[in-house]
Symmetry: C2
């Protein structure tokens, strides 16, 4: 698993190629032998595991439990909710047979034509249908509500154009599916969960996000309302990073899930669903990294501090190693994830490049002058600066530095994002900002699907969201000139 340290393509030359190379060279993921499916490599998976663990704790703190539902969904289930089938039962993996047999002509194995399924099974693209079919048996009375379930799972959507983490045929995600007595309670849940995502994105990923409603055209297939967190990448394109849906009674009606309410009357159950996926890995990479490689927020970095000795000969190595072990133990005692890299078959400079590529937030080098002076050289990945620091109280210094780096990465992304929200008041301005500056364009919109579609066709920009905190403001639609009561955010997006 040698890391290739050849120069990355520069992001300003070809952002897309820079991204693809970075994902592979930093050892996060790679394409597999199966079209559109990726292999998530240990270094990438370690980041995803931390994300999972933090999110899972947040879900449990808000009262949710995990469960597991089948990978396969009977084809007929998709037809039960009219909008859902349009959105999800198109590009998907279809299981038609359940057996292989030896090829009579001796060429390996073939599908056994006698083992055809009566009804085809779809590899889940999302699980509303199978879950609401299950909830039907779990719910009879208001006493059975709410149900607050989440599942961590793989899902498959047969995308034609795929990209590591951002858009893959198979991806990993969590999907929460909740059932409630009232409309109000379900809306409250959907809002609670989008805010959990916002907190996670900002506090852990250093990713500032805008929370808002999707326009009807961009809603989840089967939802009455979709809340989204929208982030901005360094190339000025938006990335939808998590969604939370108020599903109304749509799935309860499709699967006939009724409950006796407190007054003893039967009513359909109210629903939400919400999810984030390995797409967050793509957001994390694209939001912070540079031409030297990844820049990881300390809270998510599998290695927070790497220590590299600078020495000549075994005697110096042994002495330096002993000192590093002592300092590392002090840092580990504070919960810092430290790695000592004392490999003697590669040069220190090679190691420096490798850990820059891998986005390790802090690098500590100890040379022989440091040994004499009781100092170390501390390098920050986010700013690419170096400083000589005393070995005394190094662990608390590093702990504080990691906090500062976490804050700095967020602040930098926030400043960039804020600088990339542009209010425009004319169609010419709209197009010019998109083409020259990018980012979010805040503009008036007449509220119709037709206009949204026309703008998308003309510019490839879509409404990313109607921000929750948008102010009422009278204006004219940037495209049609019709009246509008608030601005919405447009952007080109991933």
């Amino acid at each position: 698993m040698a890391v290739e340290l050849k120069d990355l393509t520069k992001s300003e030359e070809n952002y897309s190629q820079w991204y693809n190379e970075l994902v592979v060279k930093a050892g996060l993921a790679e394409s597999s032998a199966v079209r559109g499916c990726m292999v998530i490599k240990p270094y990438g998976y370690a980041i995803w595991e931390t994300m999972q663990r933090v999110l899972d704790d947040m879900f449990k703190q808000t009262g949710h439990q995990n469960a597991y539902f089948p990978l396969f969904i009977p084809k007929s289930f998709f037809s039960k909710e009219a909008h859902h089938v349009e959105g999800f039962a198109k590009e998907c993996a279809v299981v038609t047979h359940y057996r292989l047999k030896n090829d009579p002509e001796g060429k390996g194995v073939i599908v056994d034509p006698d083992a055809k399924l009566e009804e085809e099974l779809i590899v889940r693209p999302t699980s509303e249908t199978i879950i609401w079919n299950t909830y039907k048996n779990w719910i009879t009375s208001y006493r059975d509500l709410p149900i607050l379930c989440n599942q961590w799972a793989n899902v498959v959507r047969w995308e034609m154009r795929t990209r590591l983490f951002l858009r893959t045929a198979e991806f990993l995600w969590q999907e929460g599916h909740t059932a409630h007595e009232t409309r109000e309670e379900a809306i409250e849940e959907a809002t609670r969960m989008i805010n959990v995502y916002k907190t996670f994105a900002e506090e852990w990923m250093c990713l500032p996000v805008i929370v808002g409603h999707k326009s009807p055209n961009e809603r989840f297939a089967g939802a009455e309302d979709t809340l989204t967190i929208e982030a901005l990448m360094q190339d000025g394109k938006a990335l939808q990073s998590g969604t939370s849906h108020f599903l109304g009674q749509n799935f309860a009606k499709a699967f006939d899930v009724k409950f006796a309410n407190k007054e003893g009357k039967l009513d359909y159950v109210w629903a939400t669903s919400w999810g984030v996926s390995t797409r967050l890995m793509g957001a994390l990479i694209m939001a912070h990294s540079d031409n030297n490689g990844l820049v990881l927020p300390p809270k998510l970095a599998p290695i927070q501090v790497v220590m590299v000795p600078i020495y000549k000969g075994e005697e110096q190595l042994n002495a330096t190693r002993a000192r590093m072990n002592k300092l590392a133990d002090e840092m580990k005692a504070l919960g810092i994830r430290v790695k000592i890299d004392d490999r003697d078959n590669v040069r220190a400079g090679f190691k420096f490049s490798e850990y820059e590529l891998k986005g390790v937030p802090v690098r500590i080098a100890i040379g022989q002058r440091d040994m004499e002076n009781n100092t170390v050289e501390v390098a920050r990945r986010d700013l690419l600066t170096k400083q000589t620091v005393s070995q005394d109280n190094l662990s608390t210094y590093i702990r504080d530095l990691l906090d500062e780096i976490q804050k700095n990465i967020f602040q930098k992304a926030l400043n960039f994002r804020n600088s990339m929200i542009t209010e425009v008041n004319s169609w010419e301005e709209f197009k010019e900002v998109l083409d020259t500056k990018g980012g979010f364009v805040s503009a008036h919109w007449d509220g119709t699907v037709e206009t949204e579609v026309a703008i998308k066709e003309a510019t490839k920009a879509t409404i990313r969201c109607i921000p929750l905190d948008v102010k009422d403001e009278e204006g004219k639609c940037v495209y049609t000139g019709k009246p509008s009561h608030r601005r919405v955010l447009f952007a080109r997006s991933y």
Copy 2:
């Protein structure tokens, strides 16, 4: 999600039905709309999550990292390893198409015949092939070795007769896949991991297991040696609970994975794989439970202590609740998982039955006399005994009690298991012990596949393992009378 407290079928009347009912009534899992696939309900999943977390920590402590490989495997991959294809490319879920379309006759959606895959994809029944195809690109030199990867994943084997947790079409598991420089190192790894499983089974699940080699006939398809942990269920049948395979160079040869060794010569890489699955849930349930329901080892119980108030009227309830909160806080401070059940719409007796069914290790009831006397009533689930205990220092008392219960459940299972290993020296005795007593039969075997198959056909018993700690002992095969150098363990099994 109301728990049904109707009487369970008694295990002595119909063990199989008792098991199925218990799994459903205790809220662990249920069948789904998809044949052979189960829904793991929150209470069952909470146990599985704890198992996962503990095992994952043990894997990491032994140097392993997690990664993720594709759900789908190209059909041709299975034909590359001759034994593997026989074992796994038969009953499996085959993806043949990647698109649905609206039925022109208006009946929902149909498979789009234009969207046929060039090569069918198999939903992974196990991942050796896709992983070794990937490792080929990761390994060039001994410096890239060892690779010590694990993945937590779902797998699908199209079983004809399924049973919740024990045998389902889809199940959850972990699969470790390691690559090594030498035969010795790979064998050492396979042994290390079967011992990790043994430690987990015994210390966490209270499940005594026998570690041994599988006979050639029962080996994993593609392995040179399979190590197993074999447990005994209360009905006298064995259950294979985890396996660890030394794969030799079979998969390296099948996928052409070579490395330059320290002498600069090319050699094929040595491999292991090892896994445990949600089948462990079945073992846990069947090893300890009784006619009142589950008996959960405290270390794995989602709720370790439940507190139930006995009261009349709101005033008494409020006072008792305040006392319970105080006691619960003291227990939580010691890391004990406590639940207070102060529902006022069900009687205490109903709650008692419910938590017995759910296997909660300790129940604490507080009545009004307890309030006056500063006592509580403590009931143990494992022994079904009750005791009056002072409220002073209750938390440390409960902590020690949970330890004692953990030990007692293990000791009881160990005593039973040990009493169910019977040495036999004749074919008549062999058959009689199997039919009247069950359990493990320790017998001489001539070492041939023919004899093993003949014994299986005659008795349904198979060689569960050749124990690692078996003693050399000259004897005669119980079936053929041919010479044998050691006893092996036979049993009927799940």
